[in-house]
């Protein structure tokens, strides 16, 4: 067991973890932030995507100990109080979610896509860069629309 310290959603947190503790376990089970989900065990589905030091990564394929000193943002950290992040608002406005399980990872990935590709990111780039996020409900149609709309407002 070792103590790991990091900043999650602006708050300094620390906890005792085993080396094998995954970042997603630290977030969900130690910190009680259950917005980040686990949808697979082969690093494919993207339900667990969070930002570590500003980059979208899969928290199921990251060791908590390796995030010592890191700045982590989860879906819970996006809104400012009750004011939604533009990408969250776009997902609602464009019906970019149904069951909601993949949604946190989708939104975190979407923000990363816009950060790197800009406000006018094309549909083709969005679709390609969402390859690491699986949704079973929406057929992606409205997710792509939401990402485009969210991008414009970011």
């Amino acid at each position: 067991m070792s103590v790991v310290k990091m900043k999650i959603n602006g708050k300094a947190v620390s906890g005792e973890v085993e080396p094998r503790t995954l970042l997603v376990e630290f977030i969900r089970e130690h910190q009680g932030l259950t917005g980040t989900h686990v949808g697979c065990d082969t690093s494919q589905c993207g339900a667990c995507v969070v930002h570590v030091d500003g980059k979208a990564i899969k928290s199921c394929t990251t060791l908590a100990v390796a995030c010592e000193g890191a700045t982590v943002t989860t879906v819970e950290g996006l809104a400012k109080g009750i004011e939604l992040h533009p990408m969250q608002a776009a997902f609602k406005e464009h019906h970019g979610l149904q069951c909601g399980f993949c949604t946190p990872g989708m939104i975190m990935s979407a923000i990363d896509i816009v950060k790197r590709n800009g406000k006018n990111v094309s549909e083709e780039v969005i679709r390609r860069e969402l390859s690491g996020n699986i949704c079973r409900c929406t057929g992606y149609h409205n997710i792509v629309k939401a990402v485009q709309a969210g991008a414009a407002n970011m």
Binding site: K92, L97, G100, C102, R128, C137, G139
Partner: protein
Amino acid sequence: MADTKTGVGASVRRKEDLRFITGKGNYTDDINLKDQTYAYFLRSPHAHATIKSINTAKAKKMPGVVGIFVGEDVANDKLGGLICGWGITSKDGSGMKAGPHPVLAQGKVRYVGDHVAVVIAETKEQARTAAQAIVVSYGVLPHVVDAAKAMKSKVQVHEVASDNRVFNWSLGNEEATNAAFKNAAHVTKLDIINNRLIPNAMEPRAAIGSYDTGTESYTLYTTSQNPHVARLVISAFHGLAPEHKLRVIAPDVGGGFGSKIFIYAEEVVCVWASKHIGGRPIKWTGDRSEAFLADAHGRDHVTKAELAMDASGKITGMRVHTIAALGAYLSTFSAAVPTYLYGTLMSGQYDIPNIYVEVDAVYTNTAPVDAYRGAGRPEATYVVERLVETAARELKQDPAEFRRRSFVKSFPHQTPVIMCYDAGDYGAALDKALEMSDYKNFAKRKAESAKNGKLRGVGFSAYIEACGIAPSAAVGSLGAGVGLWESAEVRVNPIGTVEILTGSHSHGQGHETTFAQLVVEKLGVDINSVSIVHGDTDKVQMGMGTYGSRSGAVGMHAISKALDKIEAKAKRVAAAVMESSVDDVEFKNGTFTVKGTDKKMAFGEVALQAYLGHKFNSSEIEIGLKETAFHDPANFVFPAGVHICEVEVDVDTGLTKIVDYTAVDDFGNLINPMIVEGQVQGGVAQGIGQALLEGAVYDEDSGQLLTGSFMDYNMPRAANMPSIENFRLGFTCTPCPTNPMGMKGCGEAGAIAAPPAVINAITNAIGVREIAMPATPLTVWTAMQANKKAAE
């Protein structure tokens, strides 16, 4: 007229979204109970084996282990086995051959992933580690995983079924159909495989079972589409506890697609075992690998199908024989899927005077097969639409016009396979789809594609489906173990806010919004004054849950009925308060008025008066404003539509791209078009998945599931779908006559319609008669190579 912005017909943004986009959803795995323990299921590594012995002695001494249970413990406790809730009678009158399905294997394992033991420990890792210390001695038996081989195999999956045949079921008039074929001028024949699919809702199944030693009652949190049915089965068949001592809660559920209808071993074991470890809660969260192995799969049909036509090209008969795999055990609704949800749809949108369907359902050493989005109807539609398309091509007729000529044109229409279609206009949907897809200029687009080295093809699918299976007496006569009605309770609070308690369950469908829209429409209240309560057997009266696109047509109908009762009661209160005759009270836009006077009361005021009881005689009018309704529909509802798919196939690699997709659907009146469109888009994605990407593969030699993770099982991704511009949705409307909303179901249409549209497009593009699903690049390239060779 109610509020047009939030009433029926408006694309209201979803009320449930806020919690999901902010990470505040409450899924089963998000819940943690005090003193919780963790379960790990030890699963069979073999497709078929006897269990000679299980030694748990070493594992029991491992750190953190709280308890280990095996089949013998379950048997000693007389915990009932898993059931199939639909009995099918064979053609020869014999009953279905149901083998035992204990929640933990007893004596034998029958598929890779079968539950052998459960380890309960303080942590997940401890449970898993201890499970590895359990020593199971297996006597490996030969296995059969291929549906087509099951009846001829020497392997016997269950003692009760010597040829592995669960039943041999038929529907329709065999003699008349044979005669039609005898007199046919042209017969089209196809061998069809409907590929096995793995549902893969994004939230893996999970359960938390607990036993309260103080109240002697159980609570089960579970990822269920129908918590009341789970309670009924666990009470009545597993015999765990009477219903009033068992609370089942299905909180936010991350998608179901059928796979979370069923009662599974894991949830039964968790709630049962809790008592045996002194009442501590037991949590199990399946991982994706377990979902692949042990969630009920879908489809897996091997079919021979024939279509007979007379000299004028009129369809005169259809004959279908299907072998349907049901896996190693009969899952909750499995027997209904390849029978009453399949054979009854064989008439499609067509006027076919003679139909005969025969189905052999078989056991295989694989995960159980049960309802998956569409459940039987996609399989039927695939048969019908592949046959019709192929027949049109053989007769050298335009596939659209051949369909049009063959459509049912007057309603009601009684098919030879039970169904009586109540309303529809199939030609209208076809016209609209042809127009929207610009079918007349297809040749131009094909030529354009050819310039880029791509083969372009177009495919049609004119589907019909039947949802809201009903009425209960009818389904009972066909073998259903339950009634298929729905319930609703409307609680109007004293200040006029409304709580709707429904037996339907939302796991992505948006009930919290659409159901509220109905309340807005009927009571004229603000949508924010309405909340929907579901998914908890302690809160909601008995209900049947959500599957088979039933929640709109059946669930909302029940709500509608209860709201009518509320209106009637409120009118009596209003009449008393306004000192008028109840016959003179009118209710419109949330206001009660008295005919011919300027007296009026808002809905909220009436609600308050109903609870105050100051202004009416409470011996004549009961205090309060709360009503319950159970609704049993008079008939199924029959959504139908035409989907047109255009593909481009890369000549060099066989890679198929959906370049254009048009879906025109008739769902009757739409409550929330935005949500309906979302259902179609998602359904089409699953249909495209089946046609191009997804297919469960069991290894013949080892019986192992080869497609056991997202690394090998190909889920549709964003780039597999047509572009926003080239994915067009349209609607036609023939209101359903059997419900007051005039609505039909919309949840499964896409998954039903898409596979034949895609495959018809590919076969059209590359000029072959048949191609197997999923039409992967390898499959398509191989077909093109064979075609080339044949032409040489």
